[in-house]
């Protein structure tokens, strides 16, 4: 029994530390990458960047550990080397303590994978993400699994004008598929993990959505640029449960805009941006604060980028190392999961390993 529970804990720890990342460096920059002209962000932030490179192939794997400081200071995690000798009650208590750190609906850990190819303005991407989500807090804590896959294809074109002006515009069509389980009590989850043959009382929901993203990026002389994007144009998720009942989940349209500036001197480069994310949904003062973001990326040679950001008032930082076709990005940032904005800030530790050819 202890061995199985130990295996479960170790599996969770591995899942957490096998860090992954889709656009991890974007998170480090406060998601302020709308004007970056980096093809890496074409599918996640601005479709116009499909025209930024004649050829690119990226295969990133990323992982994120949410509420990192709380999880890493947990008794079970701190004493992982002694976990085999722990008594059962301490283990249960440790698991509940760990889950109590979350208090609300928020991810515990997520892993994301993607393969993206762009060629002369055309691009295609297949991505997947797996998340464990917590709901509630201690004895009533529930866990659910959320698996998503996205197939994307798009096209962009860049128009170059005189005196350093240019305009790039692009569009991407996304087919999203989602499978999620109903929240189940911790004991049920543990029981099913211990006994894989047990079906438990999970309900499984699945559904799809077809949506489009469009983006424009305009560059001006002296390194200035502006961008505008609209994402999730199209349908909501059409879901079905395992009893055949249908319902829809919203997939709200999000409009982002940003202004940026780039400069370089010798082996240094600097990329600055300030923007508003989801400005179409601003209804109140807190919405406005949550919408504002800014970021900076300082490039030291072509191999190292130091990233800083502020997204919805929460700071972020990270570093990206680029060596030949290998890219490693790490980011530490804060994200809010409050029912009221600002009420539940949690820190997130993330890491991405990618193969990148451009």
């Amino acid at each position: 029994m202890k061995k199985k529970l130990s295996s479960l804990i170790i599996f969770l720890i591995c899942a957490m530390t096998c860090l992954n990342a889709v656009s991890i460096d974007a998170r480090a920059r406060g998601n302020a990458v709308l004007t970056s002209e980096d093809v890496s962000y074409a599918f996640s932030h601005n479709p116009a960047f499909l025209a930024s490179s004649d050829f690119s192939l990226e295969i990133p794997l990323s992982a994120r550990l949410f509420n990192a400081s709380g999880v890493l200071s947990n008794d079970l995690v701190e004493n992982i080397s002694d976990i085999a000798s722990m008594d059962q009650e301490r283990m249960v208590s440790g698991i509940l303590d760990l889950l109590r750190e979350f208090s609300g609906t928020m991810p515990l850990v997520s892993i994301e994978e993607r393969i993206a190819l762009t060629l002369f303005g055309m691009g295609a991407s297949i991505s997947a993400s797996e998340r464990v989500i917590t709901t509630g807090g201690s004895v009533a804590t529930n866990l659910s699994l959320d698996l998503r896959g996205t197939l994307s294809a798009g096209f962009a074109h860049k128009f170059d004008f005189d005196d350093g002006w240019s305009l790039a515009a692009g569009a991407i069509l996304n087919l999203d598929y989602m499978i999620c389980t109903s929240p189940a009590g911790v004991e049920t989850v543990v029981g099913i993990l211990l006994d894989p043959d047990g079906s438990g009382d999970f309900s499984i929901y699945s559904g799809h959505a077809v949506s489009a993203d469009i983006g424009i990026n305009i560059t001006y002389p002296l390194g200035f640029s502006t961008a505008f994007t609209v994402r999730n144009l199209g349908s909501a998720y059409h879901m079905n449960d395992d009893n055949g009942n249908s319902f829809t989940l919203p997939n709200p349209v999000e409009m982002d805009t940003a202004a940026g500036w780039k400069g370089s001197w010798s082996f240094l480069s600097l990329d600055l941006e300030i923007g508003m994310r989801g400005w179409n949904r601003i209804r109140s003062y807190p919405d406005l604060l949550e919408s504002l973001n800014a970021g900076a990326s300082l490039g030291i040679t072509k191999f190292i980028d130091i990233n800083l950001g502020l997204d919805g008032g929460y700071p972020s930082c990270g570093i990206t190392l680029d060596f030949l076709c290998f890219e490693i990005a790490a980011a530490y940032y804060w994200q809010d999961f409050g029912i009221v904005y600002g009420l539940a800030p949690r820190d997130v530790l993330s890491l991405e390993v990618a193969l990148s050819f451009e």
């Binding site: 059962q88 009533a140 004991e187 438990g200 240094l268 700071p315 800030p345």
Partner: protein
């Protein structure tokens, strides 16, 4: 130019590091989430003679076990929080404990009407807890009939501890108010745990699970229960999504104009 940009970045980083809270706006006093996290307080009227099922606490209850409870007098009970309200309360308390002055908040006095409702809820919780032994025995017998054995003693002891908590509540401050609120929810939570562990799973799985736990189901339950007591004592306990008093009680009325801002 280069030096100016670099120095601006360095100063910005130092400013961020000097912030007492992760949110810069909150740290600079431009925004306070507590101004927006106050809910409304509602009560539920439970007339003497009405009856509800203590286990009728989820929408997918399968009706294998039933424990009816009839209150001994009329009560106006502080309504159990919904999942969203509970999450807001937990997040608020946690936020105050990390970044604000939780003690000051919890020691704020209740107004007269809030005290009255707090006392009524305390009486109601106390009455349930006084009778809990008979509930547990009924539950145990029903579970036994369903082929699942539990030792009711540890659960009874847990509820006795909860009764001590209720004894110490004076209904003078917000802390008393929240303690009573969480007591009601904790009672429901423990039944929810029982439900999840022994009813929500199939019988075979429950038995397998118990045997996998080396027949130490009571230790597991004790761990969960001890955790619940601890969480209640620090007001960080999660609240179950379930409605203890069920849908039989229909006379809601809003106290938001009287105790606005208490949560």
């Amino acid at each position: 130019m280069k030096l100016r940009i670099l120095s601006t970045i360095i100063i910005s980083v130092l400013c961020l590091l000097s912030c007492t809270e992760p949110n810069v706006y909150t740290s600079l006093g431009l925004y306070d989430p507590l101004d927006h996290s106050r809910g409304t307080v509602k009560t539920v009227s439970i007339p003497h003679g009405s009856s509800f099922n203590l286990l009728d606490i989820t929408d997918d209850y399968k009706g294998k076990i039933k424990i009816n409870y009839e209150p001994q007098k009329d009560y106006n009970v502080i309504k159990q929080l919904t999942e969203r309200e509970a999450d807001t309360l937990i997040q608020t308390v946690r936020y105050l404990s990390q970044y604000g002055d939780l003690d000051s908040y919890l020691s704020r006095p209740l107004d007269a009407l809030s005290k009255a409702y707090c006392n009524d809820t305390k009486d109601f919780a106390y009455e349930i807890l006084e009778n809990i032994s008979s509930f547990i025995r009924t539950l145990s017998e029903n579970l036994e009939a369903a082929g699942i054995s539990i030792n009711p003693d540890s659960l009874v002891r847990f509820f006795e501890d909860l009764q001590t908590t209720v004894d110490n509540v004076e209904c003078k401050t917000i802390k008393d108010y929240i303690t009573i609120q969480l007591t009601i929810n904790t009672i429901a939570s423990v039944f929810d745990v029982l439900y999840i562990l022994l009813v929500d799973t199939t019988g075979d799985l429950a038995v397998d699970f118990v045997s996998l736990m080396k027949n130490e189901e009571i230790n597991l339950m004790a761990g969960v229960a001890a955790n619940a007591v601890e969480l209640t004592s620090v007001l960080l306990d999660a609240i179950s999504q379930i409605d203890l008093v069920g849908s039989d009680i229909d006379s809601f009325y809003d106290l938001s104009d009287i105790v606005e801002g208490i949560l």
